[in-house]
Symmetry: C2
Subunit: 207 residues, 2 copies
């Protein structure tokens, strides 16, 4: 199983890059072993760093968990959302965001599949600031899908019988299922099936 690379705090690039490298390693670790158990101590041990070196960047375990979620959300925005914002508004955005999600899984950005999906199920029943941050992320992503769908509908690119809320929920479900099956069976065929489904589901109106 992939393990985070070791982080050298003394690298010339300085504190910010070290903090980012620690956070990326933390997100990789949490995507496999869970977020609830992520602590300054467990992360330091996994990275072969001292607790004090890791603790210098994060004041508490909760602060570390919040920063890890924020870093994973930043990577998700970069790899999954940004490609969709670069194409024409409407249906193209909807297909692109789903394709970008499959590419995100395929390149195994995190060893445990989609970080945000893993921690949503793990932390959803642990009320607190970390769970609130994850819920806010999921709501925002749902709203983004809904906005793309509403634009596609307004532009006549989807059948008038479609509903943006329902379609967003369905697409979210298809990519969740792809993530779970990909993590569980480690089979790229899962992603091909996911792509086919998106292609069928998002046929332009009249096609």
């Amino acid at each position: 199983m992939p393990r985070p690379h070791s982080v050298q705090p003394g690298s010339p690039a300085g504190g910010k890059r070290t903090r980012n490298a620690i956070l990326h390693a933390a997100a990789s670790l949490a995507s496999v072993d869970g977020l609830a158990g992520l602590s300054i101590g467990s992360l330091a041990a996994a990275l072969g760093m001292s607790k004090a070196s890791v603790g210098a960047y994060f004041g508490s375990n909760t602060e570390l968990q919040l920063a890890t979620v924020a870093e994973a959300a930043r990577i998700f925005a970069e790899e999954v959302v940004q490609p969709a914002l670069a194409v024409p508004v409407g249906l193209a955005q909807l297909t692109t965001v789903c394709e970008a999600f499959f590419a995100h899984l395929e390149r195994r950005t995190f060893p445990g599949g989609c970080f945000m999906a893993s921690v949503a199920l793990e932390m959803g029943d642990h009320p607190g600031p970390v769970s609130d941050l994850i819920a806010a992320f999921q709501s925002q992503f749902g709203a983004l899908l809904r906005d793309f769908a509403a634009t596609a509908l307004a532009q006549g690119e989807l059948p008038g019988s479609e509903d943006p809320d329902r379609l967003a929920f369905e697409l979210n479900g298809i990519i969740f299922a792809a993530d779970t099956n990909f993590v569980l069976h480690d089979d790229p065929a899962v992603l091909d099936l996911g792509r086919q489904i998106i292609h069928q589901r998002l046929r332009p109106a009249g096609a």
Copy 2:
């Protein structure tokens, strides 16, 4: 947060019922705190029992985890699959199995939502017998949905353009999304939206 009830090993109903009660408590605990950390020691502590009493039923932590997954799969079969096997074959089975899944979430059989979905994402990247058992369960459930869909298609209850593999994947995704959103937002409106989507998605051919 709901915690498992304490288990009284000295109850007159005897060892088998005690074992089942321990396993149900173990599945509840694992649906919230994860399966990887479930051990004879952690379960004994959560139940207020001695390690020796819990250990009398399970030879090792792996055996306990496997038995917990098997118990959760038994409950899933009883609550989600059985209702669908009791209705006419084809489309009615497909709608009934989805409805039964939403009812399973709604009655909060496990405090952390669908046990099998939670542990699939958690354990999928921890190779071993527990992950294999979960993958086998997910494959079987996928095959069940596909069989229901194939029968519905063969009976002309769904448009000929549908594909059983794709439809099974989509339905699995919709119920995954309902689970994740229900766990994260604790809002029954999520289940209503899920029901609407299933109703729309599974309109009979020609309707």
